[in-house]
Amino acid sequence: MKALSGRRVLLGAAGPVGALIFSAIVSAIILVLTRHNPFEAFGAMGQAFSRPRVLVGTVNQVSSYYLAAVAVAIGFKMNLLNIGVDGQYRLAAMLSAALAGASFMQGIPSVVRILMTIVAAMLIGAAWAGIAVWLKISRGVSEVISTIMLNAIATAVIAYLLSPGRLAVQQGNNLGTRPITDGGMVPTIPIPKSITPLYTLLLLALLVGVLYAFLLSRTVFGFKIKATGLNPAAAVASGISVKRMAVAGMLLSGAVAGLVGMPELLNGPSHQYSINFPSGFAFTGIAIALLGRNHPVGMAFAALLWSALDSSANALQGVGVPNQLVVIMQGTIVLSVVVAYEIVRRYRVVLEQRDVARALAQSRKEPVAA
């Protein structure tokens, strides 16, 4: 069985590695066609990482991406497509930023303040996701449709609340929640030769990853998630309430989604949720969950890869290559990885069937039992 699991790891890696190589080839072709030197471009991308700043930036970005991916993956594991992570994290980040920045929070001890902020974000994310799952359970609305609509609604709600006199203050042309004072922020770690400090909420992402892994492999709840996702009919026949699982899964997904904005909010330089707050993490999360096959470790690598590609965009532009190349590479990776996974998956089933056949053929050399 050891050989078998070794092969499983190898096969698991074959998909993404193949996709990565494929996308590099596609990108090189595009570069040549647009009269750029691919070696120069890839060289610049590589060189970027000799700068501590870029490395730190890459690692910092991983936290948000990974959290988004986990939020998406919890849904994916049971065939629930939570497209609403985007709205969930933005709404959660905005409201919890308003809470953290509120003046009455000043007197509260730092740890409590931070915990309150984080818990509030999780509750808001879960509540927003809860609307979608409530619609699904009670009205049969596809969560894909409802979460997409809820993203738009979240945008409108945020736009409404984020105005002077409500939850926002205007600073220059920027509009954001009241800045969080130092006591409400999570300290960062300064890194020598890097203008950007290391975000400590990477630990939060790590913790979520460990809990996610533990949940899936060690708990009954995780087993139920897996069973529901792999075969809903069998889950029902086994006494698993698919509806209840959908509710629990979606709330959990929303709660993790609520955390997506936390590293940026509590570790980032702006101390507030403003109109410049980063967006689009959720869609990146979908891609990463896909790339990492919903696996806690796989997604960590995928988030790192994605973040590294992002980080190299500036360096690429520095040598005159449009940063869209990075988007093209990321897109190619996702598309080819989906194809590669399907091929690998089929190949693996065939391999296992052969293994079984071979093992049985050997056992049959002994006298056949009736």
Binding site: M1, F223, A235, G239, I240, D355, V356, A357, A359
Partner: protein
């Protein structure tokens, strides 16, 4: 016969070997099929029949050996080559588009065109001609979704004939048919044979094979082990050739029925769309008793199972388990109360194909030991217990970490049976427990059922295999249009009489079926199978079942 010997055989395979890395799927296969005959290919599941037929149909190329069609050596790079050579394949699972009409399905992929446009009229004409010539009664304009299983199969056959096939491969064609439909199919095959077509018939149902085949080739562990003359060989001899051991017999020894009632349904009604799918069901199963439910598929068996399992709400009536009303309990609570469930479709309801065996062991037991301890999975205990099942139920697998999808159907089923019998269930619902499994697994599963029954298990057995149903039941009930008939004594029932009762007391074949029995088919005296004798038996043995059913019809 003598004239045919001079002609080259329609199909001759010599020394066919097909290897997959590490495994030889076929080795040194020799097969000769005379023209205008029905040639049966029998063997256990996994013996290599399908691999061989894929070779013949061009789905892959053999590593060694030659294929001759009508005396000419051929190589098939693809199914298109095989079709061009006049070979057609009718798959076990129909490949028809439900929302298209019969003629559209038939021409799909080989559309007749006139000046670039689909010529529907011509297609329908051609199809009607084929249907008439071979006696394959089906309306080209009918929607496929409205057709029964037998008619769909005829559409599949027409599809193949439409593409000019002279050699037909039928892969387990009777697996999905009730006895009367089997009859009908065999009539069609006789017609085809009379028109000079050659038929290769793959099956592991020995009675059927002996009824229809002119010659039988047995395949075992990837190689041909011999041919047999269906008029001389017995089931037992064939079985020995297939598995090297005797055919298992579904039979119960002395009665173990107690008077302790385990399951009781009282006036259960299940509402469907527009009408009730189950009405007024009264059913009782006692400890140590196997109650068999006979019925043509779609008469309420699935709903009956769902009602007992709590998968479908009961509109009226009560389900009682060991005297306790469980009507309002969830599936989980019922399972915890001691209900085991072998579902009809193991891939749909019984397994997580892409999970390991030990994870599958936990399915349905996720709240109980050994699978769980509190809110955590007890991996070690679950794995240990999976090993126990693998050993005790002879699940052939290299380990418990392989995916369930990697196992053969028989071994998957043994795993399910082992799982559902663990934890000391009081009631087992066994829906088609041996469907699609090989002879060895079938024997093992029957053994387990017998043992559990002796230990006091109450079993609800649903099966389309009437011999299994009759042999393994203490009591039989016929289900028809959502209503259940009175208890029958399996000792006084035959497959034929049961078949008639299942169809509502009509005479076998029915008025709309071509009357081919006994004319085109060679007489086969002493045959114990279903075919050819249903009419005869229907009159004598049907007393109880048929009579009561017609009486019920009056009251309806």
């Amino acid at each position: 016969m003598s004239t045919l010997i001079d002609a080259p055989p329609a199909v001759r395979l010599t020394g066919i070997t097909k290897r997959y890395p590490g495994v030889v799927a076929n080795s040194d296969i020799n097969l000769s099929v005379r023209r205008a005959t029905v040639h049966a290919l029998v063997g256990e599941n996994g013996a290599g029949k399908s691999t061989l037929m894929k070779t013949l149909f061009g789905l892959h190329q053999p590593d060694e050996g030659t294929i001759e069609i009508d005396g000419q050596a051929r190589t098939f790079a693809s199914p298109a080559d095989a079709i061009a050579a006049g070979i057609g394949m009718v798959h076990q699972h129909f490949m028809l588009a439900d929302n298209l009409t019969v003629w559209e399905n038939v021409v799909l992929g080989a559309e007749p065109t006139s000046s670039g446009r689909l010529d529907g009229a011509r297609a329908r004409r051609d199809i009607e001609a084929i249907a008439q010539r071979y006696g394959l009664g089906v309306d080209p304009r009918a929607l496929v979704e409205e057709l029964g299983v037998g008619a769909r199969q005829r559409v599949e056959i027409i599809k193949v004939l439409y593409r000019g096939a002279r050699i037909l491969i039928l892969d387990e064609p009777t697996a999905v048919l009730v006895p009367q439909e089997v009859d009908e199919l065999f009539g069609n095959l006789a017609d085809l044979k009379a028109e000079g077509l050659t038929i290769i018939f793959i099956s592991h149902k020995l009675d059927e094979v002996r009824a229809i085949a002119d010659e039988i080739t047995v395949i075992r562990r990837g190689t041909t082990v011999g041919t047999a003359d269906p008029r001389q060989v017995t089931n037992r001899q064939l079985a020995e050739m297939m598995v090297g051991s005797a055919l298992p017999v579904p039979e119960l020894r002395e009665s173990t029925v107690t008077d302790r009632e385990v399951l009781r349904l009282r006036g259960v009604r299940v509402a469907g769309v527009g009408r009730d799918v189950l009405s007024d069901i009264d059913l009782s199963i006692r400890a140590g008793e196997v109650v068999g439910i006979a019925g043509v598929e779609g008469n309420g068996q699935a709903e009956l199972v769902d009602a007992i399992m709590g998968l479908e709400p009961v509109a009226d009536g009560a389900v009682e388990l060991a005297g306790r009303d469980v009507t309002r309990l969830s599936t989980l609570r019922r399972r915890e109360a001691g209900v085991g469930f072998i579902p009809e479709d193991r891939h749909r309801q019984g397994l997580l194909l892409e999970a390991t065996l030990w994870e599958n062991r936990c399915l349905g037991f996720q709240t109980r030991r050994p699978a769980a301890r509190g809110m955590f999975l007890d991996r070690a205990a679950a794995r240990a217990d999976t090993r126990r099942i693998v050993e005790q139920f002879d699940v052939r697998t290299p380990g418990i970490d392989v995916l369930a999808a990697a196992l053969s159907g028989g071994n998957q089923q043994k795993l399910i049976v082992g799982r559902e019998m663990s934890g000391d269930p009081a009631l087992l619902i066994a829906s088609h427990p041996t469907r699609g499994v090989d002879v060895g697994a079938q024997a093992a599963i029957w053994d387990q059922l017998r043992n559990a029954r002796a230990a006091g298990l109450a079993v609800l057995l649903i099966s389309a295999d009437l011999e299994e149903l009759i042999g393994m039941s203490d009591t039989l009930r016929v289900i028809l249009r959502g209503r259940i008939g009175p208890p029958l004594d399996p000792r006084t029932v035959t497959p034929e009489s049961l078949g008639v009762a299942m169809t509502g007391g009509h005479e076998a074949g029915g008025p709309d079926l071509p009357d081919t029995a006994g004319t085109d088919r060679p007489e086969q005296p002493g045959q114990a199978g279903v075919v050819g004798s249903a009419d005869r038996v229907a009159e004598s043995d049907l007393g109880t079942a048929g009579g009561s059913l017609s009486a019920r019809k009056v009251t309806e």
